[in-house]
Structures are given as structure tokens and as C-alpha cells.
């Protein structure tokens, strides 16, 4: 069988840590990077006799994500115990949702190189996070329970994804929505968002699913794309050699760029799920859902659409600006104050985003307020300063955070747009360069650039080049 005749089938399980004030079943306040085992209590480390009590804020956040992905919200859902032994799980069971999840049947819209796609979401459920193990060769293993009980939502997609590229696009969209909602910081490297990938191959045109394998420990977009690629090739190799793909769980080893087998089907856990008797069934009424609906901000796709319509921006520009809500908000303030949408978009996408990259900071920590950037854009557009002077002013504003007008004054960058002043300068330059003037008049029209350069030099860049150019044309004649 030709290798082109396979279709890749991918489903993703995304775990997102919710930014609740307190943990899901106790009142500990989680804090990333706190000293080990200092953000714990009898409940989250499962001491004998301790009981879980559900944090309603975590339910509200899970419902937010459910509504954002157009899910049905269950009037009654149920927590179950998932039983397995591992030292990072202090009760040796996780409190999760099994056959009665909170949210069902949603979807995520993505843009791929091949056009838009809709990826269905099977379910979103709530559960508690486990602790973190650290192992050092030859020494004892250590466990930090600080992360135990941090609320997670697990977002399970349908097997609708076909390529590693689509998987990444899906994840980016999910991450973007989580961040828009402000319910998860979506950091793959720090693990506040984690992704497991299920992959199988099948002959093109087949509707049956092949045997799937799972990849865990994918902690960057690059790892996901590479991990998927690696696994697809591996499975294809197995099938083409006449073998059968075995149901396994693999770990991605970013160091070697390879998959390492974690467990086979035979070693798979029987989780012995049963309803969590310490918690009542979770009832969510219409009022709760309506309240959550009111909390949902404009989501990325709506915002992009509005940017296209309201600001007449291209698909590309609105996509870039809306990637992060805080950038989009920044842009909107700039655009509103200048009244110049496209110019504002260019400034934000080039100068501001470039500066953010250089500074390595987020827009919320950017030292220049959007109103001041708007002022700078207006100065350039009104010809008060030249475009290149604008760059200098911008650089100064990043350093000092000062008002653009003050910077212009301080640096003496105000553009010379006074015709009389410029005419005097032009006369002087023509007089000093008679040979060039002669050649220009003989048809060497590109010497105009030389003359404009001279005036810029003499004015130390302050001359309005457009105006100077016109004066030269007039005076040199020919």
C-alpha cells in the first residue's frame, strides 16, 4: 500500500489549571514556585479523615470554558474516583468526572494552511491535579504536594484532527480562549496547560478507527508537532512492514526528540471508577449558567470579525492583533485615539510587538501607554516629525515612558516644514554643487536623491523630505 494512502486520526486531551483563588476541594491558595509542601492542608494531601468540599469558583470557570466552546452544560454532573497508585497522588485516587461530565458536545474553530476547520469537543470535566515528583539518580525520589488539588479542566476533543499542524492550531486556539476568559494562563512549559495526544492511522477513506497510541509529556508546541510526526512515521513503518500497532502510552523525550514507551496495554490501569461518595452530585441551574454567560468577554473569533468590519483590517492583521486579548485591547485604544486604524495596526504589529519581543515582556508590563503611542503616530502623520525621527522618539519613550511631544522637543526633532527656510537651504545646496545641477538638467534625474540627501544632512534629518524634494524639482528645473 502506498504510504500516501493513510489518514492520520488525532484526538487531544488538554488539561488546564484554573486560576481560582483556592484549590478545588480546600482553601489552600496555590502559588507557582512556592517552597515544596508549603501550600498544603489535610484535605489536599489526603490525610486520614479529611474530606473534599467543592469550590464553586472552579465550577464557574469550567462552565465558562464550556459555554465558550458551545458545549451543553449538564444540569446534574457527578464526581467519581479514579483509583491508581502513584506517590504524587496522596489519596491514591483522583477525584475526577467519569460518565457524567459537566460539559458535553462543543467545538473549536481553527484556521489551518488548508482553510478553516471545525474540531468537535466531546467533553470538558473538572478534576484535581496531582503533586510533582522529582527523581535524582542514586538518591531518594522527592514529592512536592503543592500542586495537589489545584483545579484542572480536561478538554477532550473528538478524533477530528488530521495533522500535527492542525493539532498545534487547535491547541493554540484553546490556549487563546482560556486566556481570553482569564481562567488559565496556558503555559505549556510551566505545565499550567498540558496536552496528551492520541494517534492512530487508517487507510484513506476508511471510517473505522485504527489502534491508537497515546503520547504524554508534550510541553511545547514544537514538541507536539514533532511528537506527532515521529509517531505517525513509526506507526506507518509498523503497518507497512505488515505489523500491527500496539496500544501503548509513550512519553516524548524532548532532549533526544524521540518517544519512550511508558506502558503497554497489558500494564494499563483499571481505574475502578465509582461515584465519589464524599461529594453530592453537582447541580447547575439556569441562573448559574446565565450568570456565567454574562461574565464571558468577546471571544477571539468575534473580535477578529469586528476588527475586520469596524477597522477594515485584513484577515491577517486582525488575526495577529487578536492573538492576545491584551494586545487587541491595546490596539483598540491606539486606534480610537488616532482615528487611524490601519496606521495604528501597523505600529502595534511592528514597533510595539517588536519591542515586546526585544524586551521579553508582556504588553501589561510595557512601559508606554497606548495613548502616548497614539500621540506619536499623530505627530508622524501630521508631518511634525519624520518617520525616522518617529523611531527615535519611540526608542526614547520606551526608555523613559515620557510623552512623545516632550521627547520631540527635548531632542529637537521637530521637522522643518517651513517652505521659506527650506528654500534657503535648497538654494545654498544648488549653489554649492553646480556640476551635479548640470548633470541633473542633462537628464540624470536620479541625482534628485543626492540633493535631498544633502538637505537632510544639513538639517540633521529634520527637513521634511517630501517638501524638500518638491522644492528641488521646482528650482533645478529641466
Amino acid at each position: 500500500m502506498n504510504s500516501k494512502n493513510y489518514e492520520t486520526v488525532i484526538g487531544l486531551e488538554v488539561h488546564a489549571q484554573l486560576l481560582t483563588e483556592t484549590k478545588i476541594f480546600c482553601s489552600c491558595k496555590p502559588e507557582f514556585g512556592a517552597d515544596p509542601n508549603t501550600r498544603v492542608c489535610p484535605v489536599c494531601i489526603g490525610l486520614p479523615g479529611a474530606l473534599p468540599v467543592l469550590n464553586r469558583e472552579s465550577v464557574t470557570m469550567a462552565i465558562m470554558m464550556g459555554l465558550a466552546l458551545e458545549c451543553d452544560i449538564a444540569a446534574v454532573s457527578e464526581f467519581s474516583r479514579k483509583n491508581y497508585f502513584y506517590p504524587d497522588c496522596p489519596k491514591n485516587y483522583q477525584i475526577s468526572m467519569y460518565d457524567k461530565p459537566l460539559c458535553k458536545n462543543g467545538f473549536v474553530e481553527i484556521e489551518t494552511d488548508a482553510g478553516p476547520r471545525t474540531i468537535r469537543v466531546e467533553r470538558i470535566h473538572l478534576e484535581d491535579d496531582a503533586g510533582k515528583m522529582s527523581h535524582e539518580a542514586g538518591k531518594d525520589s522527592l514529592v512536592d504536594f503543592n500542586r495537589c488539588g489545584v483545579p484542572l479542566i480536561e478538554i477532550v476533543s473528538r478524533p477530528d484532527i488530521r495533522t500535527g499542524h492542525e493539532a498545534v492550531k487547535y491547541l493554540m486556539r484553546v490556549q487563546q480562549i482560556l486566556r481570553y476568559l482569564g481562567i488559565c494562563d496556558g503555559n505549556l512549559e510551566e505545565g499550567s496547560m498540558r496536552c496528551d495526544v492520541n494517534i492512530s492511522l487508517r487507510p484513506a477513506g476508511s471510517t473505522e478507527l485504527g489502534t491508537k497510541t497515546e503520547i504524554k509529556n508534550l510541553n511545547s508546541f514544537k514538541a507536539i508537532e514533532k511528537g506527532v510526526e515521529f509517531e505517525v512515521e513509526r506507526q506507518r513503518g509498523v503497518i507497512e512492514e505488515g505489523g500491527r500497532v500496539k496500544q501503548v502510552t509513550n512519553l516524548w523525550d524532548a532532549g533526544s526528540g524521540r518517544l519512550v514507551m511508558m506502558r503497554s496495554k497489558e500494564e494499563a490501569h483499571d481505574y475502578r471508577y465509582f461515584p465519589e461518595p464524599d461529594l453530592l452530585p453537582l447541580e447547575v441551574d439556569e441562573e448559574w449558567i446565565a450568570g456565567v454567560r454574562d461574565m464571558i468577554p468577546e471571544l477571539p473569533l468575534e473580535k477578529e470579525r469586528r476588527f475586520r468590519e469596524e477597522y477594515l483590517l485584513s484577515n491577517y492583521d486582525s488575526g495577529v492583533l487578536c492573538a492576545e486579548k491584551s494586545i487587541a485591547d491595546y490596539f483598540e485604544i491606539v486606534a480610537e485615539s488616532t482615528g487611524l486604524a490601519k496606521k495604528s495596526a501597523n505600529w502595534v504589529m511592528r514597533e510595539i510587538m517588536g519591542a515586546l519581543k526585544n524586551l521579553g515582556c508582556a504588553i501589561k508590563d510595557f512601559p508606554v501607554e497606548p495613548e502616548k503611542i497614539a500621540g506619536l503616530i499623530v505627530l508622524v502623520e501630521d508631518g511634525i516629525i519624520s518617520g525616522s525621527a518617529g523611531q527615535d522618539v519611540f526608542a526614547e519613550m520606551i526608555k523613559s515612558g515620557a510623552d512623545p511631544k516632550e521627547v520631540v522637543k527635548e531632542l529637537g526633532l521637530e521637522q522643518i516644514s517651513d517652505s521659506n527656510e527650506l528654500e534657503d537651504m535648497v538654494d545654498g545646496i544648488i549653489a554649492a554643487h553646480p556640476e551635479e545641477g548640470e548633470r541633473y538638467r542633462e537628464g540624470k534625474k536620479n541625482l534628485l536623491g543626492f540633493f535631498v540627501g544633502q538637505v537632510m544632512k544639513e538639517s540633521r534629518g529634520k527637513a521634511n523630505p517630501e517638501l524638500a524634494r518638491n522644492i528641488f524639482i521646482k528650482k533645478l528645473g529641466g
Binding site: G49, D270, R272, Y273, F274, P277
Partner: protein
């Protein structure tokens, strides 16, 4: 004046008229413990210095504002107490000292009670004789060759031998009522959710309830008034505040409808106990109660259902004892070996038996046949009780089919031991309140008990009926 033999209500009276001080009462109880407990073995731990210090501190307070001012109380060793060991009579929790108090302990302390020590029990409350303790045997104060019952055997023996006026027990399938019956004291299990389980080391979460073991019905009501009520740390507590549990005492039984199962013949009930039951029915009718014969066909199903659900939950609840975090650990080379050896050496045979059974009934392929079926049976039993209580106020039947048995007699026959719970498990399965009242002695001098059950949250009626039984039997060892 033997202060250790006084009831709570008598002690309250003595305190309010100023004729005794807490330290005198506590000393009398400590003396009784040192005189008798070497032989009986009710206590796993007593801390005389702490107890006397607390008594003297209380002497600075006024008795009027504290409903349990100066009342010494023993606590079953599966209820967490800060600073004193809480082992559940298991080797696996050897030396474990919890960092927090159970809610009931907090409430007792706030009410002025003095916790005098921790009582012996069947390991993790699994058993009906207290012989499954990893630490010691407890003897029946009425005859030292006989078992005190279980699993709250230490608590029942301590109260029966007048070492304390009251002890807390826990009742998952009869573990308060059965030893109360075998030791000739009053044992009450409230409606499921009436008393907080926070800090009660879980055996079977959907069945466990803490309750008092006392020498009088009134004392039982006094303690329930203190320990009952909604607890924000236990999501399964009943949200409505209970009324005064003493309200129905002395009201008599006129017009009360008491259902008695007609088919008690099916079980091998002790002949003397049958006579008592017959006599009780006559006396209740004389007192104005209406005795209604009812069919109770689900009694057998109840015990089967109980052993599936309780063990399923236990298998998960006891998973946390793995040697990783606290108490007993068997050192080993690998993680799995450490788990296996810790649990292999740390748990006793009965606990292992139940964990295995519970794991089995939750396993893939067996879940529907066992766990799910048991849940259906549970729902059926609940509706059967609802029907009975829609037409009757109380159900009356023996607590246990007969008196106590010799130590060692049943320990090798788990099924026979399980069947002694036949009349007690239905109340746990249905979550309804039930009480065992001492009804007299066999010719050989062993106590017998009669049990009352009431509808959901109907403790007031339950205690009303129990007070009448107490009056009929005039049983108080003193």
C-alpha cells in the same frame, strides 16, 4: 459518691449546684480506668496529665454556658484528635498523630467536654468483635470471656464498665449499636449526614456516621445536641439544623405507630430475646402505642448490598495508606515492593480481605454485576423504608440476633461474623437513624438489646420511643 457512675445529666446537676468540680469527676474516671482497664482493655491511650490540666482549666469557667461542661468522654481511635495518636487500631497507622481535630472533637471541646482517651476498635472499624485490633483484645465487662462486640467495642466497654459516662463510636453497618447491645448500653446512630464525618477516618464514606454510646437515652440526646449539625467541611452533612434531640423524651408513646417485622422467625433469634420482644410489644401497647406487623423481605438483601458497597468504598479509602507519607513504611528496593510490603505487613487479615473484595467488585467487567447491582438494591431498600415510614413512626426489632459470644469463637468464620450485622446494616443502607437500647440480661448474665429505627431525620421520634423502652426495661447497670 461514685462520680464515674454518674450520667451526664446527673453530672450537669452536680456541677450547676457547685457540689463537684471537673477535676474530681475526671479523677474518678481515671481511677476507674486504672482499676479496671488492665483487664478490660477498652483504651488504646489515656493521657492523665493532659486530662487533669484541662479539667482544672475548665474550673475557671462557668458550667452554665457549656452543655458538656466537665463531662469526660472517650473517643474511638478512628476520630482525629490533635496531639494524640489516631491509629484506627491498625499497625499501618502506628504512631500517627493527626495535625487537626475532627469536627466532632472541636464541638465537644467547645461544649466543655474533656477527652479522656482513645478507645480500641476493630482495625479500620472492620469487624464485630474488636478482635481485629492490631494492638489488644477488649473484653466484655459483663463477662471477661466474652467479646464486647464491635467495631466500637472499646467505647461500649468503657461506658458499660463506668470508666466514662459517654464515648463516641462510629457506625458503618452497626458498629455503635451492636457493641452497645452486647455491652448493655445505649448506642445511637443518627441520620446519615446528621453528624460531620470530617476527621473520622473513612471506612465506607456513604455509610459512616459518628454517634454516642451512653448509659441513658437522655445522655445520648444531650451529646447529639452538641455534635450534630451542618459542617462546611463535610459536604454530605444535612443543611437543616436539627431541633432539640431531647424534645421528645418523656412524651410517651401514645398514638405512636411502631412497625414490627412479622417474619423475624426466619432468623435464628435467641429465645430469651424473643420473649423480651414479645413482652415489649405488650407493654408498648399498654402505654398507648399501636403495633403494626410489617413484612420486611429485604433484610437478607441488605447485608449483601452492605458488604459490596462498604468494601468497594473501603478499597478506595484505604488506598492512601501506602508508606509514602506518614506512619508505617516497610523499606524496600523498589516503589512497588515498598507498597506491597507496607500494605502486606501494615494491614490485618480482615482489612486485606475487605480491600480485595472491594477491589474485585469495582473491577472492569464486574462493576455492573456487583457494585451497580448493589446500588440498585440500595435504592430498593430505601424506597421500602419510605413506604414503611409513610405509615409508621418507628420500626422495632432486635439489634443483634442474640447476646455476646466468646472471644475467639467467631474470628475464624467471617461469614458468621458478618451475619451478626443482619439487623443493623439496613439503617446504614437507608441512611436512617437507629438506636439500640439495653433490654435486660440473659439467664447467663449477658446483655440483650432492642433496636428502634425512625424515618429520615426523625431522631426526635426515635429518642421518644427509646425513652419509653428505657422506662419499660429499667435497665441500668450503674
Amino acid at each position: 459518691m461514685e462520680l464515674n457512675k454518674k450520667s451526664i445529666s446527673e453530672l450537669k446537676e452536680l456541677y450547676s449546684n457547685g457540689s463537684v468540680k471537673p477535676s474530681e469527676v475526671v479523677r474518678a474516671c481515671l481511677d476507674a480506668i486504672s482499676n479496671k482497664d488492665t483487664e478490660i482493655g477498652a483504651f488504646l491511650e489515656v493521657m492523665p496529665e493532659d486530662v487533669l490540666r484541662r479539667a482544672r482549666e475548665l474550673e475557671k469557667e462557668s458550667p452554665e454556658e457549656m452543655p458538656l461542661y466537665g463531662i469526660p468522654i472517650a473517643v474511638k481511635d478512628n476520630i482525629c484528635t490533635i496531639g494524640s495518636r489516631t491509629t484506627c487500631a491498625s499497625k499501618i497507622l502506628e504512631g500517627y498523630v493527626p495535625p487537626y481535630n475532627a469536627t466532632v472533637v472541636e464541638r465537644l471541646l467547645d461544649a466543655g467536654a474533656i477527652i479522656i482517651g482513645k478507645t480500641n476498635m476493630d482495625e479500620f472499624a472492620m469487624g464485630s468483635s474488636t478482635e481485629n485490633s492490631a494492638y489488644q483484645i477488649t473484653k466484655n465487662p459483663w463477662n471477661m470471656e466474652f467479646a464486647p462486640g464491635g467495631s466500637s467495642g472499646g467505647s461500649a466497654a468503657a461506658v458499660a464498665a463506668s470508666m466514662v459516662p459517654v464515648a463516641l463510636g462510629s457506625d458503618t453497618g452497626g458498629s455503635i449499636r451492636q457493641p452497645a447491645s452486647l455491652c448493655g448500653v445505649v448506642g445511637l446512630k443518627g441520620t446519615y449526614g446528621r453528624v460531620s464525618r470530617y476527621g473520622l477516618v473513612a471506612f465506607a464514606s456513604s455509610l459512616d456516621q459518628i454517634g454516642p454510646i451512653t448509659r441513658t437515652v437522655d445522655d445520648s440526646a444531650i451529646v447529639m445536641n452538641v455534635i450534630s449539625g451542618r459542617d462546611p467541611f463535610d459536604a454530605t452533612t444535612i443543611p437543616d439544623e436539627p431541633g432539640d434531640f431531647r424534645a421528645g423524651l418523656g412524651r410517651g408513646v401514645e398514638q405512636l405507630k411502631i412497625a414490627v417485622p412479622v417474619d423475624l422467625e426466619r432468623w435464628d433469634i435467641d429465645a430469651e430475646l424473643k420473649d423480651i420482644l414479645k413482652d415489649t410489644i405488650e407493654k408498648l401497647e399498654e402505654a398507648g402505642a399501636k403495633i403494626e406487623p410489617v413484612n420486611f423481605p429485604d433484610m437478607d438483601a441488605s447485608i449483601a448490598c452492605y458488604y459490596v458497597i462498604a468494601n468497594a468504598e473501603a478499597s478506595s479509602n484505604l488506598a492512601r495508606y501506602d508508606g509514602v507519607k506518614y506512619a508505617f513504611r516497610a523499606e524496600a528496593e523498589t516503589l512497588d515492593e515498598m507498597y506491597e510490603r507496607t500494605r502486606g505487613e501494615g494491614f490485618g487479615d480482615e482489612v486485606k480481605r475487605r480491600i480485595l473484595l472491594g477491589t474485585y467488585v469495582l473491577s472492569a467487567g464486574y462493576y455492573d454485576a456487583y457494585y451497580n447491582k448493589a446500588q440498585q438494591v440500595r435504592a430498593m431498600i430505601c424506597s421500602r423504608f419510605e413506604a414503611i415510614f409513610s405509615a409508621n413512626d418507628l420500626v422495632m426489632l432486635p439489634t443483634v440476633p442474640g447476646p455476646s459470644f466468646r472471644l475467639g469463637e467467631r474470628i475464624d468464620n467471617p461469614i458468621e461474623m458478618y451475619l451478626s450485622d443482619i439487623f443493623t446494616t439496613p439503617a446504614n443502607i437507608a441512611g436512617i437513624p437507629a438506636i439500640s437500647v439495653p433490654a435486660g440480661l440473659t439467664r447467663k448474665g449477658l446483655p440483650l438489646g432492642i433496636q428502634l429505627m425512625a424515618g429520615y431525620t426523625q431522631e426526635e421520634k426515635l429518642l421518644q420511643g427509646a425513652a419509653m423502652l428505657e422506662k419499660i426495661y429499667k435497665f441500668n447497670k450503674g
